[in-house]
């Protein structure tokens, strides 16, 4: 089953790195990129995304704020906040909106595990 994923990061290099890993692990998934939170929200209003990977430390609106808004818009979307800021308060705020926290730089193992879990969750949502 192929899903649609939104990748949000203000760094082009970070988006390229994410694209490489996603292409290797899930070549059939449709990937859409945004460099800012407002752009990501606009995209999510226009079309449905199954999964979103969101950088935490971004200008204007940070990633935790954005996942909160994405969660409000779409209760079933599988969300992850990506950051090297591993302060427990940050991780807890991510968990509070049911977003997985992925440590940056994201290892292949962590990404594989996240995507496997995301697929399992999306399948479970569908069969309900």
């Amino acid at each position: 089953m192929s899903y649609k994923i939104l990748v949000v990061d203000d760094s082009k290099l970070a988006r390229m790195a994410m694209a490489k890993v996603l292409h290797a692990l899930r070549p059939d998934w449709e990937r859409v990129e945004a460099s800012r939170a407002v752009e990501a929200l606009a995209l999510a209003q226009q079309s449905h995304f199954d999964v979103a990977l969101v950088d935490f430390n971004m200008p204007e609106r940070d990633g935790l704020h954005l996942v909160g808004e994405l969660r409000a818009q779409s209760p079933e979307m599988v969300l992850a906040v990506v950051s090297a800021n591993l302060q427990r308060e940050v991780v807890e705020r991510a968990n509070a909106v049911r977003a997985k926290f992925l440590a940056k730089p994201v290892s292949d193992i962590a990404m594989r595990e996240f995507l496997d879990n995301a697929e399992a969750q999306l399948r479970a949502n569908k069969s309900r």
Binding site: S11, L13, M58, A84, P105
Partner: protein, 209 residues
């Protein structure tokens, strides 16, 4: 004279590395203060040594305090964490506790600044070095006080063509806002080595070899 510069993607990659570095540093600082450290998105500029002095002069009219560390490896240079001196005691209160008496704060100042600087500079530089797959050796932190021009003219004397990677950061601990600057001063050969390492990092990260 060689004009040192980075292209758009190299600067983006460097900014991302710095962002990851200061995020790691904030996580380390949080462990020290026992409370969340709020961090702005760092803004990164590459400037000449003269410009770095001019920028600091324009932004900060008061005296400055800096934590200084020398780094050595494929890239060699100096790292400075610079604050307005008026913020120095604020930093000590933020990291060592707000209930301290003024006497204690003054007594602890050197040590607390050195420790804070060490966490931030080491967190930042060692993360960047790791991601560039290189080793950096860092000297012990040293506190220096004075004006910007002193910080960028430490012995041994600087070379013409020196580059400064200038990072603006704001962080807040216990409702205390602290603005500061991280400056990485390096000579032209080190800057060129950094550029090569950045290109290799970009190729690895994006898979476009």
């Amino acid at each position: 004279m060689t004009q040192a510069s980075l292209d758009e993607l190299e600067l983006d990659a460097l900014t991302e590395l710095v962002n990851i570095g200061v995020s790691v540093a904030a996580t380390g600082l949080r462990e020290m203060v026992g409370e969340e450290v709020l961090l702005s998105v760092p803004k990164v500029d590459l400037v000449s040594r003269e410009n770095a002095v001019a920028i600091l002069r324009e932004k900060e009219s008061a005296k400055l305090v800096a934590v200084h560390q020398v780094f050595e490896g494929d890239i060699t240079g100096r790292a400075l964490l610079i604050f307005p001196e008026t913020k120095s005691l604020e930093i000590v209160r933020a990291v060592a506790g707000s209930n301290l008496s003024l006497e204690d704060v003054i007594e602890l100042e050197q040590e607390a600044l050195a420790e804070t600087g060490n966490i931030i500079l080491n967190g930042c530089l060692s993360t960047i070095a790791n991601m560039l797959e290189r080793n950096l050796k860092m000297s012990l932190p040293e506190i220096i006080r004075g004006e910007a021009v002193h910080f960028f003219n430490l012995q041994p004397p600087p070379q013409s063509g020196d580059q400064v990677l200038f990072v603006y950061i704001n962080f807040a601990v216990q409702q205390r806002d602290i603005r500061g600057y991280i400056a990485m001063l390096m000579d032209l050969p080190s800057f060129e080595a950094l550029k090569v390492l950045l290109d290799e990092f970009i190729a690895r990260a994006s898979g476009k070899n």
